[in-house]
């Protein structure tokens, strides 16, 4: 019985992932015939793709949708990100689609390489986001979006070993992002504030919650930066994290440089400090990300 339930869950899960990819493909086919490819936003104002595949900075989802689509347009993006810290390596492959600068759907696969312990943890993430107010550049207030990230481990062995409560979980967040034109000696300044409710241990890679505590926690995430040229942004990020497993999970920081050579490509290099992961302290290193527009 347990076995068949497990198989059923596996099937359901792979169906969700398939649906995400099918929906993204569907958007391409539908919009490719009726709408324009996304190029309506100003360079760099699409933002980037964050670790879980949503439009954002690097660590944090932003209120921006990860494409250059404006009203009546669509965009599709492929992103590959690698985070290389002392004892671990995280590889993220993501696909996202957004339309009319209104909705975003994203799919991401995490491959988490336990270099020191040996082994690998895989996780799928499906993200949804909707812009509910504002324009990141022009509105008086910030652009505001709400979103969710549904995450599911492909193999929950390590999560259950650590007494995590679940192998799947959903984060919900609200983000506010604003560009202030010429605010810093003529340079464009931007900031983002995100409030996330989550049960995820280390993005969910170590499962969700703990067998003794599986209630949602609210965590803030903050990013800020400057466009030093039309194509180059530098900034800082902070992401508060829960510590359900009592493994001294720590908050994350990064310092990033993002390069936007065109509306088709963005490149990010960052120094990231991920603190203690699974009892291994001082996990810091390089974050590299490349996004390509497919529309």
């Amino acid at each position: 019985m347990r076995c068949s339930l497990h198989n059923y869950a596996k099937r359901a899960e792979s169906q969700i992932m398939h649906w995400a990819v099918i929906v993204i493909a569907g958007i391409v086919v539908t919009f490719a015939t009726s709408a324009q490819a996304g190029n309506g936003k100003l360079l760099a104002t699409s933002g980037l793709h964050q670790l879980e595949g949503s439009g954002g900075g690097g660590l944090t989802p932003w209120a921006t949708l990860a494409g250059y689509d404006e009203e009546g347009q669509y965009s599709v993006n492929l992103v590959s990100t690698g985070v290389y810290v002392n004892d671990f390596k995280l590889q993220v492959l993501g696909l996202s689609a957004s339309w009319s600068d209104r909705f975003e759907i994203s799919f991401a696969r995490h491959n988490f390489d336990l270099k020191t312990f040996g082994g690998e943890i895989k996780q799928n993430v499906v993200g949804l986001k909707a812009r509910v107010y504002g324009d990141v550049v022009y509105s008086t207030g910030p652009q505001i979006a709400v979103g969710l990230q549904y995450k599911r481990l492909l193999d929950g062995y390590i999560a259950s070993l650590l007494n995590a409560d679940d192998q799947q979980g959903t984060d919900f967040y609200m983000s506010a992002t604003k560009v202030h034109l010429a605010a810093l000696y003529g340079y464009n300044l931007f900031w983002n504030l995100t409030a996330r409710v989550t049960k995820a241990n280390q993005l969910g890679l170590l499962g969700f919650g703990h067998s003794t505590n599986n209630s949602y926690e609210l965590h803030p995430e903050i990013s800020t930066g400057v466009l030093v040229s039309p194509k180059l942004a530098v900034g800082l990020e902070y992401r508060s994290k829960p510590n359900f497993l009592n493994l001294k999970e720590e908050d994350w920081y990064d310092f990033f440089v993002a390069y936007f050579p065109s509306k088709q490509v963005s490149l990010v290099g960052a120094y990231s400090n991920l603190g203690i992961i699974a009892g291994q302290d001082d996990q810091q290193g390089l974050y590299l990300s490349l996004s390509l527009a497919l529309d």
Binding site: N39, K41, L42, G72, Y138, A182, G186
Partner: protein, 145 residues
């Protein structure tokens, strides 16, 4: 240096800075000669743009360019006052989308770059023009944000 001397010097610096009249954006950009080049470049960029040029099919180019130069001078704090039609009147019924608006911003950026206007000054001018967006665009679902 005692703390008192230090405090006095700080106060003096603040006073001098505060009293010195900050130069207008118009002056820092390079005054009317540069504004005129920007207006000329911008008019050229529009004429090369397949998406934007159709909006100008019935426009008198010379009149537009002169009116734009006055408007930019005014907005940048120069010694002109723009007395032409309001942005709302000029763009009424043209169904200008957010995409079109951003495209025009891009053309203006190119025009300023070609005129040698430094990036921070480009941003300052765009910041002064940005509030006009709500009078220019027309959104299908009236979502002007």
């Amino acid at each position: 240096m005692s703390f008192r001397t230090f405090a006095f010097l700080c106060w003096l610096i603040l006073l001098v800075n505060g009293c010195a009249k900050p130069q207008s954006l118009y002056a820092r950009i390079g005054g009317q000669p540069v504004i005129d080049i920007v207006a000329g470049n911008f008019t050229n960029e529009i004429s090369f743009s397949n998406t934007i040029f159709p909006y100008f099919s019935e426009t008198n180019v010379d009149k537009f360019q002169a009116s734009l130069a006055t408007h930019l001078c005014d907005v940048a704090g120069g010694p002109c006052s723009y007395t032409g039609d309001s942005m709302q009147q000029v763009h009424a019924g043209m169904q200008i989308t957010k995409n079109d608006f951003n495209k025009v911003v891009e053309l203006l950026q190119i025009a300023m770059k070609k005129a040698g206007v430094a990036y921070p000054l480009q941003n300052e001018l765009i910041a002064k023009l940005a509030p006009m967006r709500k009078d220019i665009i027309e959104s299908k679902n009236n979502d002007k944000r």
